[in-house]
Amino acid sequence: MNNIHFDENNTNYFKLDFADERVDGADKVTGKAKYTAEYNLPNMAYAVFVTSTIAKGTIKNIDTAKAMASPGVLDVIYYANCPSVPGYIKNEWRGHKVLYDNQVKFFGQPIALIVADSLENANAAIRLVRAEYESQAFETNFDLARKDASKLKGTVVYKRGTENKFKEAPVFIEAEYTIPAEVHLPMEMHATIAFWEGEDKVTLYDKTQGPKSTQSTVARTFGLSDKNVRVIAENVGGGFGSGLRSWANVPAAVMASKKLNRPVKLVLTRPQMFTLVGYRPQSWQKIGIGADASGRFVGITHEAISGTSRYEDFREGIVNVSKFLYASDNVDTKYSMLPLDMSTPVWMRGPGEATGSYGLESAIDELSYKLKMDPIALRLKNFTTVNPENKLPFSDINLKDCYAYGKDKIGWKNRPTVPGSLKENGWLIGYGMANGVFGAGKGAATVRALLNQDGKLTLECAVSDMGPGTTTSMTKIAATAMQMPIEKVKFKLGDSDLPPGPSQGGSGTTSTVGSAVDLACSTLKQNLKDLAIKYAPAFASLKSDALEVKNEMVLAVADPTIKIAIVDLLQLSPDKKIDMTIASSGKTAEQLKFTSNSFSSHYVKVAVHPKDGTIKILQVVTTGDAGKIISPKTARSQMIGGVVGGIGMALTEQLEMDHQSGQIINASFGAYKVPLHSQIPPTDVWFVDKPDVNMNSIGAKGIGEIALIGFAAAVTNAVYNATGKRVRDLPITPAKLGFKAKV
């Protein structure tokens, strides 16, 4: 394996002193960075959705006459005048076929699209559209519906050893854990600008985490070839999963642009961000876990149900973590979906693993008290370096280092072993911890490397950067591999015309695209060495393995006075530049001998007021075991962001429904509580930062998910430690702790 990067003797590699700011940071602090809705095209029209006011039924009639007569309105598109969409007819659009028929499948579903010459004119016409419905019985109440087994679907079971073995253990617990639906709510609203450049050629600016994925969806939906669909997403203002598929705004804008033969901009409203671009589904879990007197797990039983829509199946890995993070000979799991008359959920940061880890890590905490054992000691007792599900060794696992750091930094020694027994300044104090784990993938990606005659290197891949700092990380990987100044490297992304790359999701971007960038750079270096031998007389007698590339030069290793600047070398070559496109594959046979995961371990100190139940998070320590950390500054920010998301999950976030109407009733930032500045405590971030040499050539694994996975349980475990009250229904509120709500 090409692993020169981690040669201890190759000190140059680690000593390159880069400025550590985001390479695209200056554009973001000056407002120059352009996001999807910010492109202004000549003759562009503005589109807005009119949405349903029933949860389920049939539209009998839509009266668009007044809206059509409203100033500036160009068209009102709905099922009766919807253009023919080839993919709708051939069933190639995954999801609800927007504006296509008169069926209403959820409250807030788009039923008409108003297109006008200005945003003001489009908005003014919304109230002029009148719809008559025939409504039908619907069901949105997850809590009630899940109790009827006949309503469940897609049940998948897993068994290793004996079912329900935990009940035979001398010490066991069995408990139910519930999480409400939560919403991604990136700050940038989903938006699409579409314009047809010809009869069969369309270009989109779209808020997506996957330009190639959106390109493919649009091509299939509108019966076009991929090359005739271009999707641009240069800057993506957050996503957390909501941008992992194309939603109603994409085909709506594309069809409107076609119908009106002019560019159309469609930006969702904040309330529509709650109904039209997915959410983390509501879930119920029951976990049984038992141990012998020493703490060794005897068995784990993990059952889960999560919501989906009536028209699509959405499943995620809620029960997966129980199968492999800890050693246990007996594990059985069962997972089902519950269809409801809501829109379809989608992966939200950490996705199912965040849900499942909340349950499992809470259950282990509960067991630790019953065993009268320290929860970290209990996890250590069941530590494994071999994945018990597939029997493959972990490519690397350093959770023990995380435990050591976290315990020390949070002050674990002060943790009361009897819950509710420690007070500071009149507040009840508690400490909690929990682990997170997520698969570390490496997929296929293609990178174009263009080394110009001025010595500047440009790399291109059709991936996106929704905020983690992919542009920065990729630039650093290239500058490091080439041992050249970072300011001479540019990484271009966010355009489906670039060489294919993955959607940004599942913590796979750094590993997948980073490996491709690394491969492109090592190929580029080889090319430079070959050019030197062929065209630079001083190198004519040397072999390429006697050469190295660094500091923008090619040099002889044995005699560094034999050297040539890359710009001079390119001048000697016939092409004057190097332009190559390199494809990197998924895991190699060698890498497939291991199972690869990123791990995290979170530590929280909370205070709970004994009179009113007010919860304060006093301190957070979060640790990540994810191989080599490519870009420490942006990686730290990602972990801090995971903590904030985890605090929201644990203490504030909850999608609320009115089940009489089927409507979401807190669809705004005013009513759906995301964490704010004043709720965020000091957070200490620490990484093991050790290359996982069995994973990929760069030794790096993803951190996007593990930053969040497990965090909610760390909070709830700390609250239990402080109060002795176990809340198994997120978010924890003073009322659920038994305190009267303040009015």
């Binding site: 006011t53 100033p71 039908q136 700050m187 962001g641 004043s678 305190f739 009015v743």
Partner: protein, 201 residues
Amino acid sequence: MNPCQFDDARRGFLKKSASVAALYFTPSVLVKTFAADAIVPMPIAKEKLQFILNGKSVSLEIDARTTMLNLLREHIGYTGTKKGCEMGQCGACTIHVNGKRLKSCTQLALNHQNNQITTIEGLANGDQLHPMQAAFLKHDAFQCGYCTSGQIMSAVACVREGKASSRASIQAYMDTNICRCGAYQNIVDAIDEVAKSGAKI
């Protein structure tokens, strides 16, 4: 509100309405969405507006319904000011009006005749970043960058108004600005550093 605190009060009313909720099947009936037949298409009023934008005089004729945010983004092309909710709840659209911070999404542009408007585009001096912009860059006080313009405009106002004397005070002032990527800690670090530097901003 104390730092890092969570209580039930702000969502109490929601709980009440949610408690009514139960499995309920709407009978199959015709539902008319809008009883108000009185709603009719409105004529558009065009009005003259003049104001100072980042030191330059702007005068134009606008649709009277245009918000300051939409005027900046859609009509003038100043897209540095961001749209995050259009309800005054997220702070992404924060600008300075006559030196005070204001959420531009809730403002009709016509209410700002002759006002001095500063947007994120007006903070830097050519290529020279404003100290708050430089501090945000240094502390990595953002990830996706979408809330950043609003955070920086609020941050500058925070220091100017003398509300940056402690981290708790900064946090309380900045609660108007949501960051979904969760860069809060780094944002406070940036503001704290600028405030302590004594730089005139």
